[in-house]
């Protein structure tokens, strides 16, 4: 059987819907604060700042960043099943 390593199988729509529901759920005020107020490790801070540094170096202007985000979203959306 031939196998194309580049071809990614689209995720199951039901699984996508479950993940969406999890990501979009509203947390209680206590849950939300616990997440936001959790101490930030040096590693987490460095990772965040490194990702911002890369993005602003690669796309120096706000307009370029917005355009890049639109392209990235469009690319991502192509591989996703339509929401039921």
């Amino acid at each position: 059987m031939s196998h194309d390593p580049r071809a990614m199988k689209a995720p199951d729509p039901n699984a996508v819907a479950r993940v969406r529901a999890l990501a979009e759920r509203r947390l209680s005020a206590e849950e939300f604060e616990a997440y936001v107020q959790a101490p930030m490790s040096a590693a987490e801070r460095e990772e965040i700042l490194a990702s911002i540094a890369w993005f602003t170096r690669r796309y120096p202007t706000p307009g370029e960043r917005l355009a890049a985000a639109r392209r990235a979203y469009a690319q991502w959306a192509k591989g996703m099943p339509r929401a039921g």
Partner: protein, 158 residues
């Protein structure tokens, strides 16, 4: 969704020129500031009296409101939609998950502007206010975004 035919800079130009007190909030504002995130929607927070001006600016892009300005004021929000989706808050004040009242006119007074294209400036909340607006939704991704904004704020404060 193509994400390329729609002229985003021209939409921002039209909004900037229309005279509406409109703040870009949500992930698009974070992206403009330099946070590498993805989103489908545009999120704006308008002065409650400016929905008609804003709608007129969006109409040439075939973005049409799902509520009249009067209805939108009653509900506090509405949507402009075609292939793109623009979520619009028109509430005079919004509560955060922690119960803090965030008042539009105060956030508008503290706004900053960023240049999206030559001669096109978009208003966004100050960094502190952007963090507050991220507390409106209370979703996990809002909490993640706040952590990124806090790291950015700490860096800017040196």
């Amino acid at each position: 969704m193509q994400g390329s035919e729609f002229d985003e800079a021209e939409l921002f130009r039209s909004i900037a020129a229309c005279g509406a007190r409109a703040l870009l909030i949500g992930r698009r504002a974070l992206i403009a500031l330099g946070l590498p995130l993805m989103t489908r929607d545009y999120d704006f927070w308008l002065h409650a009296d400016d929905a008609a001006l804003f709608n007129a600016a969006a109409a040439p892009f075939d973005l049409f409101p799902n509520r009249s300005p009067d209805e939108a004021r009653r509900f506090g929000r509405y949507v402009l939609e075609n292939d793109e989706k623009v979520d619009v808050l028109v509430a005079r004040a919004v509560s955060t998950t922690g119960g803090v009242q965030v008042v539009f006119v105060e956030v508008w007074e503290r706004r900053q502007t960023i240049e999206i294209a030559t001669g096109v400036r978009v208003a966004i909340p100050s960094l502190d206010d952007l963090i507050l607006t991220k507390r409106f939704g209370g979703r996990p991704k809002d909490a993640e975004d706040i952590r990124m904004l806090e790291a950015l704020r700490a860096k800017e404060e040196g």
